[in-house]
Symmetry: C2
Subunit: 498 residues, 2 copies
């Protein structure tokens, strides 16, 4: 038979992919050894949080895709040099920038198991247990926010994908037509995360009207302003379509007044969406629960387990209070090709509740990690982060020359160098930032509040404890003093001339 010889040849090559136990052992030992070294180094306090990039070499592109295979040790070395030690070390306890949870180790093991077993979690008939596990996680999230059992949801790659699903569901639920986009209105604040703007662009809703609602004195969306705006928009023949509130803004960690906004949304019959990507899991902290009053009245909530549950990047969630609306917008049936004709649509599958068909089994790592530690460990860690932010805020006020921003609701703190006018204040604050970054032991980011440049920390990494805050405080103290001396500024007092 003509096929036999060539098939035998090819099978010899091809079977290399089906690596035996000995080969797998060599690989896994190498990877685990690297991981352990990586984590050991990470725990040393003086480990620099920013690695230097060498501009003279091509980095990882030296290791392009080639015909012949390579040795695992060589590859892990290349990754170490050019990928893992290149850029910011957001897993480090002294990384205070943006919003970073740190990546719990057992989650990586969850992904390992998901990869080895490769259950297809998109369709119920292919992997009923995997689908059930994901539904269970969604229901757990839904229960945190007081959603009824009619909810439905999906585990996504992150908040942007989850927001896209919320926008699609809201659009279809409202019956908004493409020729009405120009009259459709979205209500948000200047601190609403940009995934809402981007989601609308993706959906072709470039012309939707954005109403940035005024803040209250607490940097929250003002319900009264919102109400007035919707009323006047309706009078003008516009179509109020979507209210986007924030449960923990990326900028300041503030929470919009959910219950009061829900009153407006109900009265005016507008879809109420909550971005709880960063702040949502703080609902586990008893002392913060009052901030979340009214979540059960929202129509959709997004939340990122890779933030508040400290999982590695790549897992967000969307929950819709009226699950059928999600299903009606995203269901697979009606699109099915013939090759899915054997599939019995007995209950909703994740593929019916998202734009994705195939995707990784995201729920596994989340379940494994939550089960391993138990929820109490997470609520303790989140309460700790919140208290650390408050502790930092309090200690900042003791540093001569530093003006602390608003008292933190969750775990974000802003501060700046206080000087006699905004321009000097900004210049000095930026110089302080450069000093701190050049020290190299900690990494911060910055933001603008009320037009003033602020340094900003977000306390979320699970590795971050009081010792890290104390280190940061000492670095701020030393550099504030240095800055003062260098610029021949007099002894500083908050709001004094300098």
């Amino acid at each position: 038979m003509e096929y036999t010889q060539r098939l035998n040849e090819l099978e010899t090559h091809s079977r290399r992919l089906d690596s035996g136990a000995a080969c797998r052992k060599e690989w896994i030992n190498c990877v685990v050894e690297y991981s352990e070294n990586f984590l050991d180094n990470l725990s040393r306090l003086n480990h620099k949080t920013i690695h230097e990039d060498n501009p003279s070499d091509d980095g990882i592109t030296q290791y392009g895709i080639t015909d012949k295979g390579s040795n695992i040790g060589e590859l892990v070395n290349a990754l170490d040099t050019h990928v893992f030690k290149n850029g910011l070390e957001s897993a480090h306890a002294n990384y205070f920038a943006f919003v970073s949870g740190g990546a719990l180790f057992p989650s990586a093991l969850g992904d390992l198991l998901a990869g080895v077993t490769n259950k297809f979690s998109g369709l119920n008939f292919l992997a009923p247990g995997a689908v059930k596990l994901e539904h269970m996680l969604i229901s757990w999230i839904a229960s945190l926010f007081g959603y009824p059992k009619e909810h439905a949801g999906n585990l996504t790659s992150g908040g942007s994908a989850a927001t896209l699903i919320a926008l699609v569901t809201a659009r279809d639920s409202s019956g908004l037509r493409p020729n009405e986009y120009e009259r459709a209105v979205v209500y948000l604040t200047k601190d609403t995360y940009n995934c809402v703007h981007k989601g609308m662009r993706i959906l072709g809703m470039h012309d939707v009207i954005l109403r940035f609602i005024d803040f209250t004195n607490e940097w929250q969306m003002d319900p009264k302003c919102l109400q007035n705006q919707i009323r006047s928009d309706k009078k003008a023949g516009l179509i109020p379509f979507f209210i986007a509130i924030s449960i923990g803004t990326g900028n300041l960690g503030s929470i919009d007044p959910i219950d009061k906004i829900a009153d407006v949304a109900e009265e005016q019959d507008v879809w109420l969406h909550a971005d709880a990507a960063y702040g949502g899991f703080f609902i586990l902290v008893d002392g913060l629960k009052h901030w979340f009053k009214g979540t059960e009245r929202t129509d959709s909530i997004i939340i990122d387990p890779h933030k508040g549950l400290f999982l590695p990047n790549g897992i967000g969630a969307i929950v819709i209070r009226n699950g059928r609306k999600l299903y009606e917008s995203h269901k697979l049936s009606g699109y099915s090709n013939d090759i899915l004709q054997d599939v019995e649509i007995d209950e909703w599958s994740p593929s019916d509740l998202s734009f994705e068909l195939t995707r990784p089994f995201r729920g596994l790592k989340m379940w494994l990690t939550l089960k391993l530690f138990g929820v109490t460990t997470f609520s303790s860690a989140l309460e700790e982060k919140m208290l650390l932010a408050n502790y930092f805020h309090h200690k900042l006020t003791e540093i001569d020359g530093i003006i602390a921003g608003p008292k933190p609701v969750l775990s974000v703190v802003l501060f700046h160098f206080g000087a006699r006018n905004r321009s000097l204040s900004d210049r000095m604050s930026r110089e302080l930032m450069r000093y701190i970054l050049s020290d190299g032991r900690v990494y911060l980011s910055s933001t603008t509040l009320d037009g003033i440049y602020h340094l900003r920390i977000c306390v979320l990494n699970f590795r971050l404890h009081r010792e890290n805050i104390d280190l940061l405080l000492s670095i701020i103290r030393v550099n504030t003093e240095k800055l003062r001396k260098k610029n021949n500024l007099k002894r500083l007092k908050v709001n004094d001339e300098c």
Copy 2:
């Protein structure tokens, strides 16, 4: 200081998350041991490919989210019973259904490394090496299809997400406005995968006109019909917007005549999109390259490394020939919140080229796996799968009573029970399918071709070799004979009465 005592208490709990080396060792040993057992069992030929679900218990929902933590062994056991041994075993060599690559082990190690190190691959300034690595993989894919260096692309969760990005880019590039959707036309075939339909629904393009172009005798989109249809649509004042061709349909594995369709697309100035999710990597096989002539003329291509490169579920790719169009549709700038003000937009980041901001570092597992084995191993494996499909097709013709479908282009083979009329043929074919599935050693799916029910295999799993095809053939032989006897059918000859 008031914070101290409570912080100390909380830190004690919270530090459990920062598990030490001993704890990590216990966890990883448990997970690796399970993985090894799983893979060992998988390699036994008689391992049943469908596990039984026990309807009397609640499955994994018995292991709901609780306050207290659990033991890793207990959790892995629960996963084994209720998740991994529940549903279809698509990683098994005797799983011939749908399109399944099988999941190479080193990819799971790649995800482990990505999870432990947690580099944020979405933004260049956070992880330049990770971003470079992903760009390198996109460029490698682009080079396979002959795209110019002006291409850009993104690694997605799969083909559906990639298709969504293609549709968004095509829409924005054409300048199509929402009030024109009713006049916009998409050209496809009955075998175009449903992610195109679903993508349009997601984008609110419910009213777009779908033109299902006739097939040629080889189940390809007919270029002449396409040309005529576009011309007449233009005359009618419609807006031809998107041509979706298939490079390997899910149904039959057929490839549309790319070069000839590209002539039409160029002449008529319509976006040409290719779905190469399943078939794309067969371009690595020398003997198949002629089928891919013209890919360099398409505007966008999607391809799934979790299919043709045998990676675990969760990695697709989109490549756009004119990368700037992708960037213009998806770029982050203009949406940026203040907290990203420190970010210098020096080169395109993955977040500028997708609807996603945060997402897992998908490129790592793909790079590690490709580098470890080298491309030649993959081209050999793909050639083997293609030849196995041809071998199977050839052998089928020797089985009395079985009618083989079209000679495979890639690695999909259809067949049915030949009887004197369609209705009997369908009934017998379905009965044959039930027999084969009840045997339990192999798993097939089915499809419809020209209105006739066909059994269908897709040969793609990297664990699948000639011995698996021979087993399948023997099962088909035995059951065809059994079916014939049971139904008192005479000796069969293809196309004969029976």
